[in-house]
Symmetry: C2
Subunit: 233 residues, 2 copies
């Protein structure tokens, strides 16, 4: 009997926003797995740190930061092989993911490699989008309103047309794209409806009107725009 | 000192997908509040049922099902007044919400009425979107992919143009709009990429290819379409 592969969403950062299910599965884990980026600490692991059993074995996939995709692919191939070996030996593997595993999560790359070979269970988590909305006191969508989720690295033209045609908008992974995104939103005349949020739910979180956003944004930052939202019934 | 109003997301239905924070706050609640629809049982309350203290006071807002908005508005006005009175007396009030409070949640109507008068904390929850994706084994968005969230009651023309221009699409509140939505998706040629999910994470959940969806869909059903998603790195 092979083990089960679990992809576990840990939520936006505050360990208190982990689900009961995530907490229970991680507490009982014998093998956990997670990626790191170019040797940096894993954000996902830091969220779960107090829950991971001390004697759990850790499969770390160190993903290099390169322009080409091949070196990162090789890192996920190698990680998937290690995970497969563990599952074949009858042991479950708990993959840790910040946010939700299927919402811009790296677990998708492990899932693509192993889901046809092994039993997989995905445990959804609180996404950064609703965590940011909660902190910014910004209702996202009511009744028949639409919500569009856009990654910040999209080209300026595409951001412009997508934001222009949308109601509520969440722009993820703002980071070094802040200048470009801000210019597009100002140009479209929506600057007053936009809020910048950084590291939502963590002790050093920041929430500002877009006009007061810092010059440098970290990768885990977001802009929420709710030009269409009407929270009044 | 007035009490604090908490808007608590309970996740998609499985009580195990509640966050640790939601669980702790509800366990200690002295007053809870939630809406019911035309006297029916509250889905939110059923998710939290095992956690609500037996001696907690319950503020129930019974919202009538009418075409006009005024009767529902009056129900939320009356509920907000009762909640305000409790907060003024120094007691916290825990508002229960299925999913996430700011993502198509009725808590938004209470928030709109009271957020400028009282301390409010919103506790985000797992949304039905990522819960459905987890159950359907359908990665939603990777890298620079876009996700569009559309409510099923939108007019056919708008659904058509929004789906046509999107990558991954989540259509919420399918219910009696299933026939219309299915026709649009088939017409656009995306039927094979679409999955129908009903009551995700509950014991009676259903996951089908759209072509095998039942004739009658409940309100809490969703269609996920991931024509653009590429989970491989």
């Amino acid at each position: 009997m092979s083990g089960t592969l679990y992809g576990i969403g840990l939520g936006p950062g505050d360990p208190d926003l982990m689900t009961l299910k995530a907490h229970r599965l991680i507490s009982g884990a014998r093998v956990i797995a997670y990626p790191t980026l170019a040797g940096a600490d894993s954000f996902a692991r830091s969220i779960a740190a107090q829950v991971i059993p001390q004697d759990a074995r850790e499969i770390v996939m160190d993903v290099p930061m390169t322009v080409e995709r091949a070196p990162a692919q090789a890192a996920y191939d190698a990680g998937a092989a290690q995970i497969a070996e563990t599952l074949q030996a009858g042991e479950d593997v708990i993959c840790l993911c910040e946010g939700d595993p299927f919402f811009y999560g790296s677990f998708m790359y492990i899932f693509a490699r192993l889901s046809e070979l092994f039993e997989v269970e995905v445990v959804p988590g609180v996404t950064s989008i609703t965590a940011c909305a909660a902190k910014a006191h910004l209702p996202l969508a009511a009744r028949n309103e639409r919500l569009t989720v856009l990654p910040g690295p999209l080209p300026e033209d595409e951001l412009r047309s997508r934001i222009d045609g949308a109601e509520s908008v969440a722009i993820m992974k703002v980071g070094r794209h802040l200048g470009k995104i801000r210019a597009v939103i100002e140009d479209l005349g929506f600057a007053e409806d936009a809020v910048y949020i950084e590291r939502a739910s963590l002790p050093d979180e920041k929430v500002y009107p877009l006009s007061q956003a810092p010059e440098k944004a970290p990768y885990f930052s977001m802009i929420l725009l709710t030009k269409g939202a009407d929270p009044w019934l």
